[in-house]
Amino acid sequence: MRPHRHIASVILMLAVGVAHAGSVTVYSALESDEIATYLDAAKKALPDIDIHVLRLSSGDLAARLLAESQRPRNDVIWGMAVTDMLDPRIAALLAPVHGTHIDSMPAAFRDRDARWFAPTGFLAALCVNREALADQGLPMPRSWNDLASPAYRGQIAMPDPSSSGTGYMLISSLSDAGRDPAGMALTLGIARNVGQVTLSGSAPCKLARIGEFPIGISFAFSAMQAIRQGYPVTMVIPEGVKGYELEASALMKQAARNEDARRFLDWTASPEAAALYRGYKEIVAAPGSVPSAEQQREGLPADLVATLPVRDFDMAARERAALIARYKRLTR
């Protein structure tokens, strides 16, 4: 029976040592369907490595890494919100990682000390359900300022900044990490119009898809997925600040000498992988990678990567608790 097999495999793993050669354990916050696509290619490119991936949402992943921090079980983190990864307690678990592909990534997408690199990222975007919007007789929102208008009271679904990386990215970008009073006022204006706060960043878009709320504040991947699946959804990238987050990968300290883990990570930074990311991601770091024709049709600007503002991720991670506490005080 299965339980026996699992217990046996655990004992076996212990006998051989957790990170035995040829096997790499990966924790990832990427989506299951994209992981399946990438893994197929990775296994072809690295046939001698046995790759095990556990998929968790970004928040669950961070909590799990922290809970296991005394004795980490994974060799690699693959695609985790960089502001989560730069939490000092998690950053302390990482070892610098180098590789041909990693080291040739654009400087804006990797850490100076080589603790992390981010081949992909996601962009804040609105999922607007045209039918639901028409039912309410509301105009299409175009900018962040529009969302603060009283006309949208109760019509917006938004992720909770204290539980979702997307939610925090939003308030942090709009208020310039809390330093811009006008931005903070705008954030609060939007918060007043929210009809349902969600735990995750993709949930608002899912509510907009089925018409529960006309507007979901989410990210571009989710909006484009909705359009592909055929929902009456329009993606709006609001005028004003472009909110974005990078999905970082890193090597765990205790796997620092695991050459297979390093090779796998280097593959995730390769042009071959970048070509695959294009099928899912709005932000692909590889130089010269432009949104596909389909993505542009769905509303993604062709010059997106070039127009992203510089974001200080270290500071965003550092200021997180204080900004969320302030936001909570002001909104409740």
Binding site: Q70, Y168, G230, K328
Partner: protein, 543 residues
């Protein structure tokens, strides 16, 4: 006078060890975080912050309000359903039983998703009738929590109603008591413990469960959501643990249960005699039938809505029927369903044996043992699954046990068993109270030891409760999510996690389809086990 009167304390050894190792130890590990800072030094800072955060007192009040409202809905409705099952001549009892299984067999996504698709702003009701529906907020939470809590109330109250001898009712009737008087004076007093236990469970569970709060809570934020955002959003385990301690407070109510559990006047009868067959009574049956319908209709409608969502092309815009959602777009495949079945079987087997031993051992235990054990056994109801799961990681990821357990299926089984320990234990204990005192004395007088007492006196009366405990644990383990999310590994996929993942990744129809498969697999497994049980029973009668 004999061995039966002497407390069979040895029965308590294994359950107590299990509780200490798999419940108290992880719980203490995580709660330790509430009084220490990052460097491990002692601090009261987390508790001071409770008063600092303006959202928390309000969230606490709301949790309390929703807990009380849910209890007030669940207990009377649950009582009516249990009465309909055991004290009426209503036709279609199998249907009532089946409908009650639905919320227990369904992954947590189903309840929330079904409510949104049915009663949401753009839900089925709105689309069919044009009425404005909006469930986000207090009422949505109340409905979701009631649907979740109701089956547990029915299980516990049923354990007290099953196997009642007809004598009392015959006597009451011969003295001219009306059926209503009989209900008040004969039925209700026997149900005191069961009703209190059920109310305790529903109340504490509503406080700790965030599954439905997340989906239909709207801007009505409750404590359980605050815990989630502290732990998962802000990685503040200390603050999460502190809020967990706050939620433990209602568990103190279980001390009352211990006190009542020791009063024997509403125990089983000395002479069991003829089993009760409800008399013909049209009005009673009509009233119970109507109440059952009110309680069960939403349950069936919610699950049916999800089933419907799983077979349409693009909910709610293209409702062409299709089976494609069951066959494509599932990166994990159906392997996790098999793993979940195995794990649930393990949890149910271990759980029903441990809980039986615990309840049997406590029957005659002295007060000094009974009170703390009763409290400990009911405490898991007050612990949010996430806090327990976190405790498991912190407690078992190193140390001697880690090699045996970590990453294996056994630890997942134990986590779900102890997460639902209180419910299982209280149902078993309610059943145990139906055992006539005089009967164990009789067995003991005839020279039987504790083993004989259990087999010949206790077991025949407790069998229905024991069986429903087993099935309860099995069903909950199939769909448990909040605790085990911290315990899954790359090679150990679970069905409930797969459903959550599909939904998280934006595949609504596939998530609904997978959830339906889990319901179906659970139902088939239940059916098969019931069949085996039936065959075994028949054999024993023949032999």
């Amino acid at each position: 006078m004999t061995s039966a009167r002497a407390p069979a304390l040895w029965l308590l050894v294994l359950p107590a060890l299990g509780l200490a190792l798999f419940f108290l130890h992880p719980l203490a590990t995580v709660l330790w975080r509430s009084v220490t800072d990052a460097q491990g030094a002692f601090t009261a800072g987390n508790y001071l912050r409770l008063f600092d955060d303006p959202g928390l007192p309000r969230a606490a009040l709301r949790s309390l309000a929703i807990g009380i409202a849910t209890t007030a809905c669940c207990v009377p409705l649950g009582l009516a359903l249990a009465m309909a099952l055991h004290r009426s001549r209503l036709p279609g009892k199998a249907f009532i039983r089946g409908a009650l299984l639905l919320p227990m067999l369904a992954p947590s996504l189903v309840l929330g998703l079904g409510l949104v698709c049915l009663l949401g702003r753009n839900g089925l009701v709105h689309r069919l009738t044009g009425a404005t529906t909006d469930i986000y907020g207090f009422w949505g939470l109340l409905i979701a929590n009631t649907l979740y809590g109701l089956p547990q109330v029915v299980i516990i109250v049923s354990a007290a109603l099953a196997r009642t001898p007809a004598r009392h009712y015959d006597a009451a009737a011969s003295m001219g008591a009306t059926p209503w008087r009989q209900f008040l004076d004969v039925t209700l007093p026997r149900l005191r413990f069961a009703l209190l236990a059920a109310a305790f469970l529903v109340f504490t569970e509503t406080l700790t469960d965030f599954g439905s709060a997340v989906v239909v809570g709207g801007n009505y934020r409750v404590l359980a959501m605050e815990i989630y955002s502290e732990v998962v959003g802000q990685l503040d385990f200390g603050m999460g643990a502190t809020l967990g301690v706050v939620l433990l407070a209602p568990a103190l109510l279980s001390v009352w249960l211990a006190r009542i559990a020791r009063r024997r006047q509403d125990s089983g009868d000395a002479m069991p005699g003829r089993m009760l067959l409800p008399a013909k009574h049209a009005w009673r049956d009509a009233a119970l039938g109507a109440l059952s319908l009110v309680a069960l209709l939403p349950m069936v409608a919610v699950v049916a809505t999800v089933a419907y969502v799983s077979v349409v092309k693009l909910w709610p815009y293209d409702r062409t029927l299709t089976l494609a959602n069951y066959t494509s777009g599932m990166p994990d495949g159906y392997g996790p369903v098999a793993t979940s079945l195995g794990m649930s079987f393990l949890a149910a087997c271990a759980g029903s044996v441990l809980v039986f031993a615990l309840a049997a051992g406590l029957r005659r235990a002295p007060r000094g043992v009974a009170r703390p054990m009763q409290f400990l056994a009911s405490l898991p109801a007050a612990v949010p699954g996430m806090v327990l799961g976190l405790g498991y990681v912190l407690a078992f990821d190193r140390g001697v046990l880690s090699g045996w357990f970590y990453g294996g299926i056994a630890i997942v089984a134990f986590c779900s068993l102890y997460h639902y320990h209180a419910q299982a234990f209280l149902a078993m204990q309610t059943g145990m109270r139906q055992v006539p005192d005089a009967l164990d004395d009789a067995v003991a007088v005839c020279g039987g030891g504790t083993g004989h007492v259990l087999r010949d006196a206790v077991m025949p009366f407790v069998a229905p409760a024991a069986i429903s405990t087993f099935f309860y644990l099995f069903m909950r383990s199939m769909v448990t999510l909040s605790g085990v999310i911290f315990l899954v590994t790359p090679d150990l996929g679970l069905a409930s996690v797969t459903v959550m993942r599909l939904d998280e990744n934006g595949f609504l129809a596939q998530a609904a389809a997978y959830a339906m498969c889990v319901v179906l697999a659970g139902a088939l497994a239940l059916g098969a086990m019931r069949l085996i049980l039936h065959v075994l029973k028949e054999r024993r009668h023949v032999a």
